[in-house]
Every structure is written in structure tokens, then in C-alpha cells.
């Protein structure tokens, strides 16, 4: 099946690739859920030829990354997967020809009504370099994956998006104090919580508002009127 690609999404992926000095960055929704359940949607920085080849041979049916992603929510370091077996080794060697990168990481995303997408990054580098990059960036990739997925859902209008749960009073207080220019230490002190707990409130608020980081969340909260300054 042909995949609809989205120029805006592709630009976002190129920005991620640049920011982390990666070789490739891919978002691929195999099922958008709801009425457009069967539709596929995505964007990638791979050469188009690799995507065509991948579809033509139906590599996805045997791609260990897809199989592992279908299992659940745990992000996947490609090197932990089973790459044995002739068809899988062929996939690997062709991916190499198309310069996909020898290391990769995938964040699986599952949503309501069978929604299933994968956000992947890959890079050609030595193992030591890859390990360092992962330790530094895994958390940010988790956030970016969900952000890209949300953008994709909005672009396609695939699902009638359920409004995110409302900000809790604590989350609103935290954002309001941040918006007033207080430091995290000051906000935590004021709310009588630890900075670690403040992080949970801010991150939950960030996710509900669709922001990429705390500052972005504060801006979105002010803009939407959820927080008054």
C-alpha cells in the first residue's frame, strides 16, 4: 500500500536528524486507528529507493524492529534484536547498501483502536559512540516520538482527537509559577514538593499540552488561557 507522506513531517524529521547528528530519522504509522485504520502515513529521511525496495519485498513482514514494536511500549535498541535467518540478513545487508546506519533505536507507539506507529532513528557509528548517544538522548527521543505522532494525527485528521485530560491544579500552579519566572527550586519550595516531583508535574503538563519541553508547555498553557499570568 502506498504511504502518504507529509512535507511538514519530513521537515521535522530532518530537524531531529540534524540536532542529534543522525543518519536517518523515520516516523511510520502502520495503523492510524479509527475510521482510517488501514491507512499508513509517515515520513523519512531515507532515500525513496530504500522505501520502495522495502515495500516491494514486504520487508516489514519480517523486519525484527516491526515485530518487536508490535509487542508493547519498550523502546528498542536494534542491536538487541535477533537478526539471524537468511531473509532477515538480506534485509540487513540491503539496508546497509542504502546507508540506513548500523545502529538504530525505535520507540513504538500504541494508541486506541489499534493505532500503531514507530519512531526510529539510525546512525552509522562505532558501538561506543552509539552507547554514549543513547544514554544522552533516549529520553528526548521518547518525547519527540510522541510529539511527532501527535503532529501526524493532527495532520491527517485520522482520529477525532480526544481532548487530553485537563491539567491538574498542581500542574497549573507549577506552570503559573514557571510562567512568572521562578526557578524550579523556587517553584518546588513554594508548592512544598521536591524538584523531582515537580518534574513529574511539569512533564505531565507538557504531555497534555503537546509541548516539547517545560518552556514550550508554559508558553502553550499561557496561550490557551489554561494559566494566567
Amino acid at each position: 500500500m502506498a504511504m502518504t507522506s507529509q512535507p511538514d513531517l519530513a521537515a521535522l524529521l530532518r530537524a531531529v536528524r540534524r540536532a542529534y547528528d543522525l543518519d536517518n530519522c523515520i516516523y511510520y504509522a502502520l495503523n492510524l486507528g479509527g475510521p482510517r485504520g488501514g491507512d499508513e502515513f509517515g515520513a523519512m529521511t531515507y532515500p525513496e529507493a530504500w522505501h520502495q525496495r522495502y515495500e516491494e519485498v514486504r520487508y516489514r513482514d519480517l523486519d525484527p524492529v516491526v515485530t518487536a514494536s508490535l509487542g508493547g511500549f519498550a523502546p528498542i535498541d536494534w542491536k538487541d534484536l535477533d537478526w539471524s535467518g537468511r531473509p532477515v540478513r538480506r534485509l540487513l545487508s540491503e539496508a546497509h547498501e542504502f546507508r540506513v546506519g548500523n545502529h538504530g533505536y525505535t520507540v513504538p507507539i500504541h494508541g486506541p483502536n489499534g493505532q500503531f506507529a514507530m519512531f526510529s532513528v539510525s546512525k552509522q557509528c562505532a558501538e561506543r559512540r552509539w552507547t554514549l548517544l543513547l544514554a544522552e538522548a533516549a529520553q528526548e527521543w521518547l518525547i519527540i516520538a510522541h510529539h511527532v505522532h501527535r503532529q501526524a494525527l493532527e495532520m491527517t485528521g485520522a482520529v477525532e482527537r480526544q481532548p487530553p485530560p485537563p491539567l491538574s491544579p498542581r500542574e497549573r500552579d507549577a506552570l503559573a509559577l514557571m510562567a512568572a519566572g521562578r526557578s524550579r527550586a523556587q517553584v518546588a519550595h513554594r508548592l512544598k514538593i521536591s524538584e523531582s516531583t515537580l518534574r513529574v508535574y511539569l512533564d505531565s503538563a507538557r504531555h497534555k499540552l503537546g509541548g516539547l519541553n517545560a518552556v514550550h508547555a508554559v508558553a502553550l498553557a499561557v496561550k490557551s488561557g489554561a494559566v494566567k499570568i
Partner: protein, 220 residues
């Protein structure tokens, strides 16, 4: 040894999963007297035991369940948000925060408190380890007050965000911050000789057969 298994793959480890659900009945119904539902075969399950729940299980040398916990991102339906959101003053929803539920050490264990403590420490260490690997910032859990002592003994105590009720029946909402320092704190307090070795990632069908890769499947 520690195993991470998705709900849908539990069928490939029948003895392990069967003893886990029975041990859960032993702990949550018989010992703690929670209003949980137990089937005719004596297995405790609930609506959160779905295909994508991730089980962290300590497997005893005889292949049965020694202890376990159930993990799920808070972006999914969680006990915390479905039943206890009043404790946090609203829902906590973030891909960086996972919920841990049904933390259980087998009531069948021989070896007393030392054996139980060894297993709960191993489970906490494994949880911390994969959380670091996944890039998580916190675990959240609702648990009954006596568990606090057990969590403290593992070297990784939760920060208590809210409490409800009194005495042994008191419920606590706790947050565990994931960090290399937390992992080190567990290791510093761990019983002698507790080394988990490399913890395998949750992979589909991993319970069926050792992977036929050039990479040896390692586990302690």
C-alpha cells in the same frame, strides 16, 4: 534470573505465568485481603493484565515465580489515573512516567526474610535498569503502607506524594526518581552476591527459545 515479558508472550512461559498469577492471589487476596478477583484455578488477574503490560519477573531456579511487578506507561489506562487520580490531584500522563502495579514476592518462598528481600531488591534493580535504558524519569505506584519498609530496604525508597486512610490499610502514592544514583544506591544496599548480569530486553517470543543469534543470551 530476571525476565521481562509482555502480557501477550506469557503463554510461552506457562509455568512462570501460572505461578505468578497464583502467587498474586496469595499475596493480594489471602494476605492483604484486597478485593481482587481470583478465577476458579486460583489465579488473580485484572483488567490491566493486557497484552502490552510489561512484566518484570524473578524466575526461581525451578522455573516458578519468585516475585514480579507489572509496568505500563501512564499514557495508557493505569490504575493510578483510573482509580486514584484524586491522590495526585489529577491525572499524571507522560511517556516518561510508568506505573508499577502488583509488586509481589512469592508467598511460597522458603528462606524467610532474607530470600524475600533478595528478590524485592532484584526486582527494583531490574526496574531501575530498564527505566534508565528506556529513558524514563520516574515510576509511580499506589501501594499499601507496609510496603514502604520493603521499598526502603531495597535502597530505592519512593517519595510519598499523597496518602489515604489509616494504619496498615493506608494507601500511599509514591514516585521513584530514575537515575544512575538510584541504581548505585540499590547496589550499595544489595545483599552480597546479588548480580543480575545483563538484563535482556522484552522481546516477543523470547520465552519460547533462546535466540539463535551470534550474541549469547546472558542472564544471571
Amino acid at each position: 534470573m530476571i525476565r521481562f515479558i509482555y502480557g501477550r508472550d506469557l503463554v510461552s512461559a506457562p509455568l512462570l505465568s501460572d505461578t505468578m498469577f497464583r502467587d498474586r492471589a496469595g499475596q493480594f487476596r489471602s494476605r492483604l485481603d484486597w478485593a481482587v478477583s481470583v478465577d476458579s484455578a486460583g489465579r488473580e488477574r485484572d483488567q490491566y493484565d493486557g497484552d502490552r503490560a510489561l512484566y518484570c519477573i524473578y524466575e526461581l531456579p525451578d522455573g516458578t515465580h519468585g516475585g514480579s511487578g507489572r509496568l505500563m506507561p501512564t499514557t495508557e489506562p493505569t490504575m493510578l489515573n483510573d482509580h486514584f487520580s484524586h491522590l495526585a490531584g489529577g491525572e499524571i500522563v507522560s511517556p516518561l512516567v510508568w506505573e508499577s502495579t502488583r509488586f509481589c514476592v512469592s508467598p511460597r518462598l522458603t528462606g524467610g526474610a532474607a530470600a524475600a528481600s533478595r528478590i524485592s531488591t532484584a526486582l527494583m534493580l531490574a526496574g531501575c535498569e530498564v527505566a534508565l535504558r528506556f529513558g524514563l524519569s520516574h515510576f509511580a505506584a499506589v501501594f499499601d503502607a507496609p510496603m514502604r519498609r520493603i521499598y526502603r530496604a531495597t535502597g530505592w525508597p519512593p517519595e510519598i506524594l499523597a496518602e489515604q486512610g489509616k494504619g496498615r490499610r493506608k494507601l500511599c502514592l509514591g514516585l521513584w526518581e530514575v537515575s544512575p544514583a538510584a541504581r548505585q544506591a540499590i547496589l550499595d544496599k544489595a545483599p552480597k552476591g546479588l548480580a543480575l548480569g545483563p538484563i535482556p530486553s522484552p522481546l516477543p517470543g523470547a520465552g519460547v527459545a533462546p535466540m539463535a543469534t551470534g550474541r549469547p543470551a546472558q542472564a544471571a
